[in-house]
């Protein structure tokens, strides 16, 4: 037996998925309760159970996803940080972009967030120009003095960000050597390693954030790796990164900021893999849990972004483009000014929805779904999570139905309607913004609540199909099983395409590839398992935003013309027009070295006897707005086999989620035991 294990450590639960590579099947899907105070503690239980059930030598690969980095930032639990920067530019970090953004009408608009105070920012004499030429040599005595002052100020980590360090890292490297000589225990975060791209504010903010989370997160990563290796001596242990690839603790030691989106991104990678198996190009992944919804548009390959922020902290790293909104099972409904509002406030995991009976009194989406009959009081986690129908009913009645003069069912339907409106608006925004039409996509719904409400979402968006994977509640852990190891390099070097020499470009890419591949060779990948992907961030001269374009061969002038053509087309798609006569520039060079891990091979099951009808174990009354259905059949997903079809209204329950088929929709079980849902009568 060769086991590959995905472990998704969330704030409330930790999900585990184990895949047997020899048999080609999932052999275990488990949920553990996370311990927020000791994030690594849950690993002891998980590894012990796996070793007991399958043997220590069976596990060959462990992939982690973790909210450790994200929560360290959100909860403000990083270390005391200092910053060393170029003389004359101490306030770059504090000034930010002088932009109120969405706070344009807030008379008390907040200042940009800072992870350190100004007295811990020290300037040193040094200066490079835009091409990386030294204008003023670094003053090493000043660096030493700054380092000593920071030590005296009690910092545990130092960020170093010099102007134009992306064009020439020599000064940052020199500073790092001096700091390490003076204070070997300090964590050092260098801007050219964290984010070697231009625009000093965003690079500084990312470098400071990396320093802030550096000591605790890298410690946590090492601890996870040690635990895995002690229990499973043959296993390789990897962590999911925000860019959808995985990396070892060693690779992430200097840049733990790369793991901030580690959790949500795995679901997107899983969604892409599922789409590939089913030969579906355009998918939107939709992951809704207790407090938030994560969604991503995948027109073929995932889209990426380099600018993103968490709780207003800009964290510029290469990240799969995921949008998160405050809509989840715990989103609270309330009446305000005569209108019904749902979220973004959430009852969270504690006290949780009223129906959890842990002291919550405000009605949530989960309560509404219980009142509607969509969620069973007994089915969640096979009954391990009891639900109080009475508490749900009373919360919805007292806080929404009575004040608005509605029946409890109407009120609950209203709560669902408003939440679905919020979700569909966000989905429209992310698809239209990127130049796509949501109607051309398949929705892959997972997370505890995704399959429960997806039926209403596709009706609103005009989407023609939902795909519900197996074990939707632990799908992110599944996504980890199908990832590869990534080492990404980027470099800002503004290069006019009409004056570019193909050999020069080739040299730049080749040098970056070599460095990235060297990292993966250290991870003991054999050469034949390594590939590289090149891309370029390009723009029309004078623009200050870039479009990422894949780069293939760069040997002749025709190759360069081909690259320009690809850029024009990408610009047309993203922005609705192109300017073929304008001068085109490369701004960033990007290389991703990929250490391929063999993908799990799923066996497609043959359809069982076509005529066989599924058996429902319960008939329930459920409310679907205008349609108040009394005889809704309820199925257990584990009893369904390939080829079976179920017409809505119907409910399909499983351990980690509940699938709702709306009236007018038909569900079909495919050969991988996914459920495909489409409107009946779709041509």
């Amino acid at each position: 037996m060769k086991l590959r294990v995905g472990i998704d450590v969330g704030g409330t639960f930790t999900d585990v998925t184990a895949f047997d590579e020899d048999a080609g099947t999932l052999v275990a899907v488990r949920k553990y309760v996370s311990d927020a105070t000791r994030p690594a503690a849950v690993m002891e239980d998980i590894t012990r159970d796996l070793a007991a059930d399958f043997g220590a030598d069976s596990v060959t690969l462990i992939l982690h996803g973790s909210t450790a980095a994200l929560n360290t930032i959100l909860e403000g639990k990083g270390v005391r940080v200092g910053l060393i920067t170029t003389r004359g530019f101490r306030d770059v970090y504090e000034i930010g972009r002088q932009w109120r953004g969405e706070e344009v009408f807030n008379i008390f608009a907040p200042a940009p967030k800072m992870l350190l105070s100004r007295d811990r920012i020290h300037e040193v004499r040094e200066r490079l120009d835009a091409s990386g030429n030294v204008i003023e040599r670094i003053d090493e005595a000043e660096v030493a003095e700054a380092a000593r002052r920071l030590v005296a100020q009690g910092v545990e980590a130092v960020a170093v960000c010099f102007l134009f360090a992306y064009a020439n890292p020599a000064h940052e490297k020199a500073a790092a050597n001096i700091i390490r000589a003076i204070a070997p225990d300090l964590y050092v975060s260098l801007s050219h390693e964290v984010n070697p791209e231009w625009r000093e504010y965003e690079r500084t903010a990312a470098t400071v954030a990396n320093a802030y989370i550096g000591p605790p997160v890298s410690r946590y990563l090492r601890e996870l790796e040690n635990q895995s290796q002690q229990r499973f001596p043959l296993a390789r242990s990897l962590m999911m990164k925000s860019d959808g690839g995985a990396a070892s603790a060693r690779m992430l030691a200097r840049t733990p900021i790369e793991t901030v989106m580690s959790g949500p991104v795995a679901g997107v990678i899983g969604g892409r893999y599922l789409g590939d198996i089913k030969s579906i190009d355009n998918v939107i992944t939709f992951d809704i849990g207790g407090t938030s919804s994560d969604m991503a548009v995948l027109p073929g390959q995932p889209l990426f972004k380099s600018e993103f922020s968490v709780a207003r902290h800009p964290l510029r790293t290469h990240t799969v483009d995921i949008e998160t909104i405050g809509a989840g099972g715990g989103s609270i409904a309330s009446v305000d000014l005569g209108a019904l509002k749902v979220g973004p406030d959430s009852a969270g995991a504690d006290p949780g929805p009223a129906c959890y009976d842990r002291g919550g009194v405000e009605p949530t989406l989960t309560d509404a779904l219980v009142v509607l009959g969509h969620l069973s009081p007994t089915a969640l986690l096979d009954g391990a999570m009891p639900i109080s129908q009475a508490k749900a009913q009373s919360a919805v009645t007292s806080r929404v139905a009575r004040p608005l003069g509605l029946t409890p069912a109407e009120a609950a339907w209203g709560i669902l309607t408003v939440l679905v409106t919020n979700v569909t608006m966000a989905m429209r925004t992310i698809t239209i913004e990127r130049g796509y039409d949501p109607r051309e996509f398949t929705l892959i719904a997972f997370g505890g609540m995704g399959p429960t409400i997806a039926g209403r979402i596709i009706a609103e968006l005009g989407i023609g199909r939902i795909l519900v994977p197996r074990d939707p509640g632990t799908f992110s852990a599944f996504g980890m099983l199908v990832t590869d190891v990534h080492q990404t390099r980027s470099l800002t070097r503004i290069t006019r395409l009409d004056a570019a020499n193909p050999a020069e470009l080739e040299k730049t890419f080749a040098a970056m590839e070599e460095a990235a591949l060297a990292e993966l060779l250290q991870e003991k990948f054999s050469r034949e398992r390594l590939t590289t992907l090149r891309s370029a961030g390009m723009r029309y001269r004078g623009q200050s935003y870039e479009v990422s374009v894949p780069v293939s061969r760069l040997q002749t002038d025709e190759d360069i013309a081909g690259l320009a053509k690809h850029f024009h087309e990408a610009h047309q798609r993203r922005y609705g027009h192109m300017a073929a006569s304008e001068s085109v520039e490369i701004v960033n060079f990007q290389v991703t070295a990929v250490g391929q891990i063999p993908k799990p091979q799923f066996h497609e099951l043959a359809a069982t006897v076509q005529s066989q009808a599924p058996h429902s174990h319960e008939i329930r009354a459920a409310y679907f707005g205008p349609v108040n259905a009394t005889g809704v059949p309820v199925f257990r997903r584990s009893t369904l086999s390939p080829g079976m079809m179920i017409d809505g209204p119907a409910i399909i329950e499983e351990k980690t989620s509940t699938v709702v088929l709306y009236p007018g929709q038909r569900g079909r079980i495919d050969g991988y035991l996914n459920i495909e849902i489409e409107p009946i009568g779709k041509p």
């Binding site: 009408f105 339907w413 309607t417 608006m425 925004t429 935003y545 300017a579």
Partner: protein, 578 residues
């Protein structure tokens, strides 16, 4: 109306406004659209009342609403497929001619049900300087092409002679027309989205929802205003340095607030209109004052016509700076907008002291330079907008390097400036002591220094607040004003005025610009001593200013010298009392 429909239909309306914004961002041509986001969408009902807006530039909303009203008045015969274009500051009202509105009526069957309107700034519409907005313009006809309200689409057909005229009147025809085209097409896209909305919920229900949300906002605002004690607050007075033409002559702006029952009445006053382009059309100030009231009283509610109903604004007679007579020049209207905001904020702060910050710097402004790039030999044009600080809040210090309400534009990264242009930024930081001293301190303004690396460069400043600065409120001391200077070779440093057109700089010259801070809140001698000490430790305030403004002195180890501090603060008290 059913509370679920009330929420869902209005959210869907806001979503369409948002999608129009995204579509414009996606399809616009110029960097003004794509990077400065200097454009705004709004939705109006058939009576021309604003129902919802996309992500806005606050200064666009008032003129857009005024132009929708003008289209209703002039064109009773609108038909499906029509769309209108206008930029004329005096027919009915516009900020300045480089802001062009496109207004598209919406129909269900043959019934007019509303309008989609947008305004977008243009990179160039002719006139005496590239970019059109000349700092030394002395009448409207020097400020670019004027377009009165006219059709640009008739029954869905583009009136292409207009394209010819517009393209013949701009230095950048491709980009300018590309943007106008995106404005027209985005409205047309909006028509299909609204048709879906009307079809899904029914015309009456959608119109009813809009009506009800305007009424809700009006009702909530009236309720909040009714809690304010009746009375007259102000007048509060401030000044613009000059109009860029008559350099010695400041221009007064003042505001008085009358609160009567559930209505606020702002009475604006000013000196006579200026020769230079710092005049401000009334529709602009009326709207940003209404926005200000919303921000103070009901921040969580959407912006729509309901907000305007309990807020009256009256103006000085025609021929005044705040009520200019055609054809007074208006292109630098942002400067009087900032100062008008400041006096309105001060009047409001008198009425509801705990809910309003001190006035901000009102100093945000632009520096542009042009020259020939020594490496490429091409002409370049560099344009940067920099900020002062916000006013202090009733419970905390102001924010540094941020503007209030009317201006919201990003800075240009140093690494972008030096990559694109032959200049070296020698420093970029916060100006020590620039924040207005108070119990709570105003935010600091920024300072930036540019070294010229090319042979020659010509610069323009479009700023103000070199002579007057935010006075702060409730006993604060005034903030430091802005300043600019030029160092050339061995010559003595030359001080510049706030509005400069066409000054020549040579290689190695150093231009320095420092922006005013925001106003303080309360008596600085009552500022918590530990806060003063932290400000000194962090370098926001110098030791001299700590002593002179805050009455706090330090020993050599930067611990507070309690004895001297007590004496200084005691003197301050008795002085204040006398």
């Amino acid at each position: 109306m059913n509370p679920i429909d009330l929420e869902v239909i209005y959210q869907s309306t806001l979503q369409i406004a948002r999608e129009l914004t995204l579509n414009m961002l996606r399809t616009g041509f110029s960097t003004i659209i794509k990077e400065s986001q200097d454009f705004t969408f709004a939705i109006f009902d058939a009576q021309g009342r604003m129902v919802a807006q996309g992500i806005p530039q606050p200064l666009h909303i008032g003129p857009l609403a005024a132009q929708v009203g003008e289209i209703r008045r002039r064109f009773p015969d609108v038909a499906p497929g029509d769309a209108f274009i206008v930029n004329h500051p005096y027919q009915a009202c516009q900020n300045h001619s480089t802001d062009i509105c496109i207004i598209t009526p919406m129909f269900v069957d043959q019934r007019l049900v509303g309008y989609i309107g947008n305004t977008a700034h243009k990179p160039d519409l002719g006139g005496k300087v590239p970019g059109t907005n000349a700092g030394d313009a002395t009448d409207l006809f020097q400020e670019g092409l004027l377009i009165p309200p006219i059709r640009i689409l008739r029954r869905g057909e583009l009136i292409d002679e207009l394209e010819t005229v517009i393209c013949a009147n701009t230095r950048t025809p491709e980009v300018t027309w590309g943007d106008i085209s995106a404005q027209i097409n985005t409205n047309t896209y909006g028509l299909t989205r609204f048709a879906e909305l009307f079809k899904k919920y029914g015309t009456e229900k959608v119109l009813g929802c809009w009506q009800e949300w305007m009424d809700i906002c009006e009702r909530e605002l009236r309720e909040e205003i009714a809690k304010v004690p009746d009375g007259v607050y102000g007048p509060e007075t401030d000044y613009l340095d000059d109009d860029g033409i008559d350099l010695g002559k400041p221009h007064r702006i003042s505001a008085t607030l009358e609160v009567r029952g559930d209505v606020l009445h702002f009475i604006l006053d000013s000196d006579a209109q200026a020769r230079g382009p710092i005049n401000l059309r009334p529709c602009v100030s009326r709207n940003f004052i209404q926005c200000l009231v919303k921000m103070v009283f009901i921040p969580r509610l959407p912006v729509n016509d309901g907000l305007s109903r309990p807020v009256q604004v009256s103006y000085p007679p025609e021929g005044s700076l705040l009520n200019p007579r055609f054809p007074a020049a208006v292109n630098m209207y942002v400067r009087p907008s900032q100062v008008t905001t400041s006096v309105a904020i001060r009047a409001l702060a008198r009425a509801v002291p705990g809910r309003v910050p001190a006035p901000g710097s009102a100093a945000g402004g632009s520096i542009s330079s042009a020259g020939r790039h020594p490496q490429t030999g091409r002409w370049y044009s560099q344009y940067e907008i920099l900020s002062g600080g916000t006013g202090a809040r009733p419970d905390g210090d102001g924010v540094s390097a941020m503007d209030e309400l009317v201006v919201n534009v990003m800075n240009t990264p140093v690494e972008a400036v030096e990559t694109e242009f032959p200049v070296r930024v020698e420093s970029y930081g916060l100006a020590q002591d620039s924040g207005g001293p108070g119990t709570y301190r105003g935010g600091l303004g920024v300072r930036r220094q540019w070294r010229i690396l090319g042979e020659e460069s010509v610069i323009n400043l479009r700023t103000d607040r070199f002579k007057f600065s935010s006075p702060g409120i409730f006993g604060a001391k005034p903030a430091h004003p802005s300043a600019a200077s030029l160092q050339s070779g061995g010559a003595p440093t030359r001080t510049l005025t706030s509005k400069v057109a066409g000054v020549r700089l040579r290689k190695d010259d150093l231009l320095s610009m420092e922006f005013a801070g925001g106003g303080g809140w309360g008596n600085p001698r009552e500022r918590d001593i530990e806060r003063v000490r932290q400000d000194v430790l962090r370098g926001y305030v110098s030791r001299d200013a700590a002593r002179d403004d805050y009455g706090v002195t330090f020993k050599d180890d930067l611990s507070v010298d309690a004895e001297t501090t007590e004496r200084l603060r005691g003197e301050g008290q008795s002085k204040a009392a006398s």
